[in-house]
Symmetry: D2
Subunit: 129 residues, 4 copies
Amino acid sequence: MQHEIDIEVRYYETDGQGMVHHANYFQYFELARVKMLKEKGHDYAELERQGIFLVVHNIGCRYLKPAKFGDTLRILTTVTRATAARIDHAYQVLRKNDGLELAAGQSTIACVDREGTIRRMPDFLVDVH
Amino acid sequence: MQHEIDIEVRYYETDGQGMVHHANYFQYFELARVKMLKEKGHDYAELERQGIFLVVHNIGCRYLKPAKFGDTLRILTTVTRATAARIDHAYQVLRKNDGLELAAGQSTIACVDREGTIRRMPDFLVDVH
Amino acid sequence: MQHEIDIEVRYYETDGQGMVHHANYFQYFELARVKMLKEKGHDYAELERQGIFLVVHNIGCRYLKPAKFGDTLRILTTVTRATAARIDHAYQVLRKNDGLELAAGQSTIACVDREGTIRRMPDFLVDVH
Amino acid sequence: MQHEIDIEVRYYETDGQGMVHHANYFQYFELARVKMLKEKGHDYAELERQGIFLVVHNIGCRYLKPAKFGDTLRILTTVTRATAARIDHAYQVLRKNDGLELAAGQSTIACVDREGTIRRMPDFLVDVH
């Protein structure tokens, strides 16, 4: 079960090399996760109001080709593992117009309460992701 | 009474034109205000814990010459007006190595409580700024 | 002639107060200008390849109500003046779901060549904006 | 041979949870690499003018404890491998005041020319890093 989101590169996301700065891919991954949640009927803003905070435990990315301003990126996101303790995602970043793979990433997120203490991932997140 | 802070341009703050993106100057101004507070003995993180939140009511900047990666910027900040309702700052951004003026800005900040309701600016902020 | 763009607040655009950081509005304004250009048939990435660079000469914003993660913002942009030397824009930021005005801004952009020297704004930009 | 840099958390680097957004650690790592270069006598801005561009090939981070506004972070950076093709770094992020480990990361950078083609890492970078 793969989730798809298209993101247009914003001008300020490029750096002095005219390419998307590598740190911005982690913001794209976050957008992908939030949209994925939303399509499953969960609003992340609402989850936080209920005291359910998702935090990134680890994240990484491998860069194959640069993305430029003017590119639309297609991010394909897959849940590769989901337990009460953590959810793992894999991300593939393609240039939309020709399908060229630009980057690939993965992350593990965990769930904390308002005080930052690790808590069980709610069942509806484990199931629907 | 003028406050001075030096900020080295960070690589990711430049955009596709190789120049510091104009929106980043407002982050520099924020750094200047926070440092100014600190030199007066006030820690902004501590103020927030006490329920004192400073919010920007309006802000603007005029750009004269571009800043580049490798530049160190000197920001001169002055309080131009301080009342129980608001504090106005003026900012001058110079290239440190030759003193060339790169930009000039101004802002008005107000004070809100934890719920976002406007409150009187604490006296110690009006006085010491 | 007013241009309209909807922007969903991204999680990382909020700050420690849970609100959209004030500097991010200037990134939203840039998005609005770029989209406005695109709807007129001009691709900003393409303009840069042709040596036409648009730079912000001055910009400002007044904040009325905070925007939060979960909000969709509607930005209404108007060209208030366009000459061979500069184009002025005015921006109105509304919360989309109820139309509440959150912020209002204005900017002046100018045109430079690859070396950063001010040049005449191309006619097609003055006309179509 | 370990490099050390202290970075004060900036307010806008925190997100809606009041913590430093995870993507910002990759900006800190970049700062650490640039400073490390500088201490070895190499100015990255100057390298780019000479057509030597360093690009991130892969990067990752594991988060142990959150960083907050008000924290000063100490980043310890080590070159774990350096060849003509790539330089690997390891990063340790500590909270300066008590030495608590907040995060740990690693990256591989490569060298490209002005056109983005992979080139040999210059000897002086392999040696001195």
